[in-house]
Amino acid sequence: MTHLDGNALAGVLAEVFAVDLTDARARCTGCGNVGRLAEAMLYTGAPGLVARCAGCDQVLATVVDSGDRLWLSLTGLSAIELRR
C-alpha cells in the first residue's frame, strides 16, 4: 500500500505533547539515521498509524486511537532533539 509521511502525525501528537514533534529531529534505532519525524513514512492501513524510517524501514512509532484511549509507542526512536 502507499504511504503518507510524518506530517500527518501532527494532529495526534499535538494531543499528547506541548511541542510539535513532527518538526523535531529524531534518531532511528535501526540505522542511526537522524531526520525530522515529518520525513518518516507513515502507513495508515493498520488499526492505527505506523511511522517507519525512510532510510531502513524500521518502525519508529505507532499510534492507536480507540476513542476512549490512545496508545503511543516511540520504540524506534533512540533520541529526539527538541529545540529551544
Binding site: T2, L4, N7, G11, A14, V19, D20, T22
Partner: protein
C-alpha cells in the same frame, strides 16, 4: 549557584523553555460561511473560526466528522489561508468512495458547523523574513493548496525572496486558485518581487500552450525550477508517487536533502 544564574528575571526564564508552536494546536468549532466550486471535483470552503490563532503558511488541520451513531472519521486538509485572522480557507478535492471528502464537497452548506483540530505541522511551513534564499514550490494536483498559502503570504508580506511555483495539473479546469495565482504571478510588488508561475499540463493544455502534454519529467523539472547552484529552499506537495519522484530527481540534480521539504497526501478513503 544562585537562582539568578538559571533564569533571566527579565524574561522569566522563557529562553530555557522548549520552543512551543507560535500558534498552539487546539480543537475548534468552525462555522461555514461560504462553499463554492474550486474545480470540477473540489470545493473551496470558507470557515469562520472565532478561536483560531491565525494561519502559518503551509500548515494543515484535521477535520472530524461525527455520525449520528457516534462513529467518527478524521482527515487532514492543508490550510489555504495565510496570516493572522480567524478566517480559514480550505480547498477539498473529492476522494471517490471517501468517508469525509464527499460530505464536505456535496453536503456542506453555509451555516453548518465543523470540528477542527489545528493549526498543525511546523515542518512544512514557510515564514517570511527567516531566510533570504530563493524558494521553489512544486505542486502536484491539489498539493498546491499549502504552497498557494505560502505564495499568498509572500505576496502579502512583499517579501523580497525570489519565489517560483511549478504546478503539475491535469487540465486548465483542474487548477486550484487559478485567479489568485494568476494575480500573484502578474503583479510585481513594490520591490519588484513576484511569483514565477510555471504550469505543467498532464492531460490537456490550453489551446494557447506551446508545451507538450504529459507527466512532469526530470528534464522539465530541471529546466523550469531554480537551479541547485542557487541553493533554493524547495517545498514539494502532492500525491506520494509524485513527491518521491520529484524529491529523488532534485537530489540527483544536486539539491541537498536538507533543503527539500516534502508533504505527501494519499487520498485516504
Amino acid at each position: 549557584m544562585t537562582q539568578g544564574a538559571l533564569t533571566d528575571p527579565a524574561t522569566g526564564g522563557a529562553e530555557a523553555r522548549l520552543a512551543r508552536p507560535q500558534r498552539r494546536a487546539a480543537w475548534h468549532v468552525a462555522r461555514v460561511t461560504e462553499v463554492r466550486p474550486e474545480t470540477a471535483s473540489a470545493v473551496r470552503l470558507v470557515l469562520d473560526v472565532p478561536t483560531w490563532p491565525g494561519n502559518d503558511a503551509g500548515a494543515h488541520l484535521d477535520v472530524r466528522l461525527t455520525a449520528p451513531d457516534g462513529y467518527q472519521a478524521t482527515r487532514s486538509y492543508s490550510v489555504a489561508s495565510a496570516g493572522d485572522g480567524t478566517q480559514v480557507v480550505l480547498a477539498v478535492d473529492e476522494v471517490p468512495d471517501g468517508e469525509v471528502s464527499p460530505f464536505l464537497v456535496h453536503d456542506l452548506r453555509p451555516g453548518d458547523q465543523l470540528e477542527l483540530h489545528g493549526p498543525l505541522g511546523a515542518f512544512f511551513v514557510w515564514r517570511p523574513g527567516r531566510d533570504t534564499r530563493p524558494v521553489q514550490l512544486i505542486a502536484g494536483g491539489s498539493g498546491v493548496v499549502p504552497l498557494y498559502a505560502m505564495a499568498s503570504l509572500h505576496g502579502a508580506a512583499s517579501d523580497p525572496t525570489a519565489f517560483r511555483l511549478l504546478y503539475s495539473v491535469r487540465t486548465p479546469q483542474d487548477v486550484f486558485f487559478a485567479d489568485e495565482l494568476a494575480s500573484l504571478s502578474g503583479a510585481a510588488t513594490h520591490d519588484g518581487s513576484t511569483l514565477g508561475l510555471d504550469l505543467v499540463w498532464t492531460r490537456r493544455a490550453p489551446d494557447s500552450s506551446p508545451d507538450a502534454v504529459g507527466r512532469l519529467t526530470r528534464q522539465t523539472l530541471a529546466a523550469r525550477t531554480i537551479p541547485a547552484a542557487d541553493r533554493p529552499l524547495v517545498y514539494v506537495c502532492g500525491p506520494t508517487g509524485f513527491v518521491e519522484a520529484i524529491a529523488g530527481w532534485l537530489q540527483e540534480a544536486g539539491h541537498d536533502a536538507a533543503d527539500i521539504r516534502t508533504e505527501r497526501f494519499g487520498g485516504t478513503p
